[in-house]
């Protein structure tokens, strides 16, 4: 059932591979995709990956630097795969322990790893074990508890006697069960409603309530017992069944609801009062008395509290376990850890990883990203042999630092000037679009980038596609004037370096963008910078409008502008922006965010975690960093400096 299974070293040499019968495609492509998107992007937390029609599962062996990958069709749900990989890994290690313990990559090249027979045996075992578990058959009615109860005990008598005779384990005929089944369900529902009524305090006096609570308390102290049964002694007055609900205004005639007469008599500006009353018939007077009510989200609050409590309980348990282990092996563990080779286990790394996770979160990395990163580092280090005089903490810190630098390295070439030169040689303008939420600095950084481009000798056209915010067009016009005064047209061969293309307010942004690009092509502008309005990621119509602008105009670069002050919000913003762009594009390969502009970087001193969150989520590089409000405050990202600021205590 498996399409392929491959064992290769982390240096890239394939030790052994197996290709299923009838599989013609080589597995190199999918495995490379797996490596590039999961392992190298530090998403190794979850160990499965889908590529086209294949589903891939993998396991890292960090002691001998091996990777085990299995691939099978996505539509099959094979339950034995996880256990199978573990078995294969253990088997392979045991069998080739001697060869693998040699040093250097030559061990992979020199030795022949013949694993075929063992593999097929293990596969057969795994498949058999998965088939052996027969599906659990449903219980018959005779085996259930309900058949043990008598019919009489389930019938509701009118005097409210709820004695459930649990005795009488007579077996019944199937027909009788069928007939009485319906009665039983009706009776059950009636008992339920009656129980509810009884437990409520309707119809009970204060004394009886106290008595009932006292009885409940005693029964709890005794441990167990059903409080409803023990509180039977003072019989509560029988409720008359369902009480009719009384509405405040219901049942009265409409004469009482007609306030027109009183309004006209009491006030002086009778007409105003009439207008108010008729225009706002829905507001009930006296409903806003007292403090303002909070925003309605009680239900989700309750759920959150429950989840939190569960998490707290689980965390407390794991902490206790960890503390116990630490107490016993503490002394020897310390010595062992310093000298000699020691394998890293999950328990060793956990306290360090927790501390690192908290440290990252304190440095403004989004919480889920910090935990995913720590899981990925744990996976990478599990089973690794530490050298002498290295502690667990130092190994983990080093690994985390490496993975952070890896994340911040751009996955593709980031050289805007080179691309603009290319576009110039092809005689078409290079189009950059700026998008982001409100107030992150799109227009300011657009001005900074156009200043940089002008300094390098390009002509820039700014398209004012922010047709919503008051003053947006005037802001860009002021920037244009200032830039032109800094770089007078005489220096640029007679034409102004920057020009603004605007069509006022209220128009369609995508249309303005299209016209701006056509104008730039006609007039020979080399770069077009499109400024869009800020929009919240939850605002569906605005996201649709942005997606339409990008899909229709196909800019060369879509830059997402995000501020460095943002915390967990960054994840939500980027995910929803990418989602909107992907959903509303009509092509197979939608244009997603190509790069990130990180603004307001001078306001954070070393809480630089937003950079990590944004690059991790999108996988796109940070192209510009804004460090102030003047034109020269534009930088590129220095990965090492950011990571050292992050890891600083």
């Amino acid at each position: 059932m498996l399409d392929f299974f491959a064992i290769f070293s982390k240096g890239g040499i394939v030790l052994w591979c197996f290709q299923g019968a009838g599989v013609t495609e080589s597995f190199t492509g999918p495995v490379n995709a797996l490596i590039r998107s999961v392992i190298l992007q530090e998403r190794s937390g979850n160990n499965s990956f889908t590529h086209n029609a294949l589903s891939l599962k993998y396991k890292l062996d960090n002691e001998f630097e091996l990777v085990f990958v299995v691939g099978f069709q996505k539509i099959l749900t094979l339950t034995y795969v996880d256990k199978f990989i573990d078995d294969v890994q253990l088997h392979f290690r045991d069998r080739y322990k001697n060869e693998l313990e040699q040093r250097g990559p030559l061990k992979f090249l020199l030795n022949n790893f013949e694993f075929g027979e063992d593999f097929h045996n293990l596969l057969r075992e795994a498949e058999d074990s998965s088939k052996a578990k027969a599906p659990v058959s449903m219980r018959t009615f005779d085996m259930s508890q309900k058949s043990q109860k008598t019919v009489k005990s389930m019938i509701e008598t009118k005097d409210g006697d709820k004695s459930k005779e649990q005795g009488g384990k007579k077996s019944k005929n199937a027909k009788k069960e069928g007939v009485s089944g319906g009665d039983q369900t009706k009776a059950a529902s009636q008992t339920a409603s009656k129980k509810a009524v009884e437990n409520g305090s309707d119809g009970l006096t204060a004394e009886e309530i106290i008595e009932r609570n006292r009885a409940k308390f005693i029964s709890k102290q005794l441990g167990g017992g059903k409080p409803e049964k023990t509180s039977k002694s003072p019989k509560p007055p029988k409720p008359k069944g369902k009480e009719k609900r009384v509405w405040d205004m219901g049942g009265r005639n409409t004469g009482e609801l007609d306030y027109s007469g009183t309004n006209g008599n009491n006030s002086n500006d009778a007409q105003n009062q009439d207008y108010e009353a008729s225009a706002e018939p829905l507001i009930q007077v006296d409903s806003m008395k007292g403090d303002l009510r909070g925003v309605d989200y009680e239900s989700s609050d309750d759920e959150d509290e429950e989840v939190e409590e569960e998490e707290r309980v689980v965390v407390a348990q794991t902490n206790k376990k960890g503390a116990k282990k630490g107490g016993f092996g503490g002394m020897f563990g310390m010595l062992k850890g310093l000298v000699g080779s020691k394998n890293l286990t999950q328990e060793d790394m956990e306290p360090v990883l927790d501390k690192m996770r908290d440290h990252l979160i304190a440095k403004n990395v989004a919480a889920e990203i910090a935990s995913q990163l720590c899981e990925s580092v744990a996976k990478k280090l599990e089973g690794k042999v530490m050298g002498t005089f290295t502690t667990v903490a130092s190994t983990v810190k080093l690994a985390l630092q490496d993975s952070l630098v890896q994340i911040l390295q751009p996955k593709r070439r980031v050289d805007i000037l080179r691309d603009v030169l290319d576009a110039r040689s092809q005689r078409k303008p290079f189009v950059i679009t700026f998008c982001g939420v409100n107030g992150v600095g799109k227009s300011t950084n657009l001005a900074k980038i156009s200043y940089w481009l002008i300094e390098n000798g390009f002509t820039v056209l700014i398209a004012a596609c922010d047709t919503f915010r008051a003053g947006a067009v005037e802001q860009l016009r002021t920037h244009q004037r200032r830039l032109n005064s800094l770089h007078p047209p005489e220096k640029h061969g007679g034409r102004p370096a920057v020009q603004l293309f605007e069509k006022g307010y209220g128009k369609d942004a995508a249309g303005i963008a299209m016209e701006a690009i056509a104008y730039a092509r006609n007039q020979g502008f080399e770069v077009v910078l499109i400024d869009t309005a800020g929009r919240m990621q939850d605002n569906a119509p605005l996201m649709t409008a942005l997606a339409k602008l990008i899909a229709v105009n196909t800019p060369d670069l879509v830059l997402f502008v995000g501020e460095a002050l943002v915390g967990n919000e960054a994840v939500d913003q980027l995910v929803k922006f990418n989602q909107a762009l992907a959903d509303h594009s009509k092509t197979d390969k939608p244009r997603l965010i190509d790069g990130i502009v990180l603004t307001k970087f001078d306001t954070i001193d070393d809480k630089v975690g937003a950079a990590i969150s944004m690059t991790y989520i999108t996988g796109q590089p940070i192209v510009f960093v804004g460090t102030g409000q003047t034109y020269s405050d534009l930088r590129s990202l220095n990965a090492r400096a950011v990571v050292s600021a992050l890891m600083k205590a």
Binding site: F8, K10, V14, L40, P105, D415, R635, N638
Partner: protein, 266 residues
């Protein structure tokens, strides 16, 4: 409070202590003192001497295999070491092994296969650039036309690195995958790279500096005013053709004679 402060000051004043110390030293005979000084001097000299010695023995004897992803570095690594064909995947970590060159002297180098993936290559090159004696830059000749800008950017970042520019290791550009019919020749690749690096000189020097000042080298490649040519570089540059896979893949040998010859000449 005043009393307490007074006590502290008395504790920390070390002048009377120093005086007694000096008096004690002066009581000893001069010969003894000279002996102590000579011993100290010897220790310092040994440390300095060994430091130099160790520093020089860390001679640059590493040959780095660099290149973009999928250019054939790992296969070349295997072929050079053992002449063996292996299936390869994208490398995640670097591999290093000793390589005995086929020259008369039989000198041996450390051959280091650096992963080509963008997120990994910078860190690993940082680790090994100081001990690099030669750089074998592997280029995929069959898809070169598409990747010319990425290849040039990587080559540019290596050549302008300050440490690399100072040491000037020999550069061998191996145009790999010559067995593919659409492969470009070494001469063509050289011309295209020269043109591309020429443009990159302008755009990269105009690139934004990072937050804490310019990143990477501020080295200017070649001569100003003239078009860039590889002959202008201080290191010895060679363009050769090779095919790690060979004409018959698993069974045959690789066409890496030219590469082996240039490695022998190091």
């Amino acid at each position: 409070m005043d009393e307490k402060i007074h006590l502290d000051l008395e504790d920390f004043s070390s002048e009377p202590f120093l005086e007694t110390f000096i008096k004690e030293i002066q009581k000893e005979e001069a010969v003894f003192l000279i002996g102590i000084f000579v011993a100290l001097l010897l220790v310092i000299l040994t440390v300095v001497f060994f430091g130099n010695f160790w520093g020089s023995s860390k001679a640059r004897n590493a040959v780095l295999l660099l290149g973009l992803c999928d250019s054939g570095k790992t296969l070349l690594f295997s072929r050079l070491l053992l002449g063996k064909f292996v299936r390869t995947q994208t490398s995640i970590t670097e591999s290093s092994a000793t390589y005995k060159s086929k020259s008369d002297r039989g000198s041996s180098w450390t051959l280091i296969d650096v992963p080509g993936h963008e997120s990994l290559r910078v860190q690993i090159v940082e680790k090994y650039k100081a001990v690099a004696r030669a750089v074998v830059f592997v280029v995929d000749s069959s898809v070169f036309q598409k990747d010319v800008r990425d290849v040039a950017e990587f080559l540019y970042s290596i050549l302008t690195d300050s440490i690399v520019a100072k040491n000037a290791p020999a550069l061998v550009v191996a145009c790999n995958k010559q067995d593919v019919s659409m492969a470009k020749s070494a001469k063509l690749i050289q011309q295209q790279l020269e043109k591309e690096l020429n443009t990159l000189r302008l755009t990269r020097s105009a690139a934004l500096s990072s937050q804490d000042g310019p990143v990477g080298g501020s080295v200017y490649l070649g001569k100003r005013g003239k078009d860039f040519e590889f002959s202008q570089l201080p290191s010895h540059v060679e363009f050769i053709e090779c095919s790690a896979r060979g004409s018959k893949a698993e069974d045959g040998d690789a066409d890496i004679d030219a590469l082996e010859k240039s490695l022998a000449r190091l």
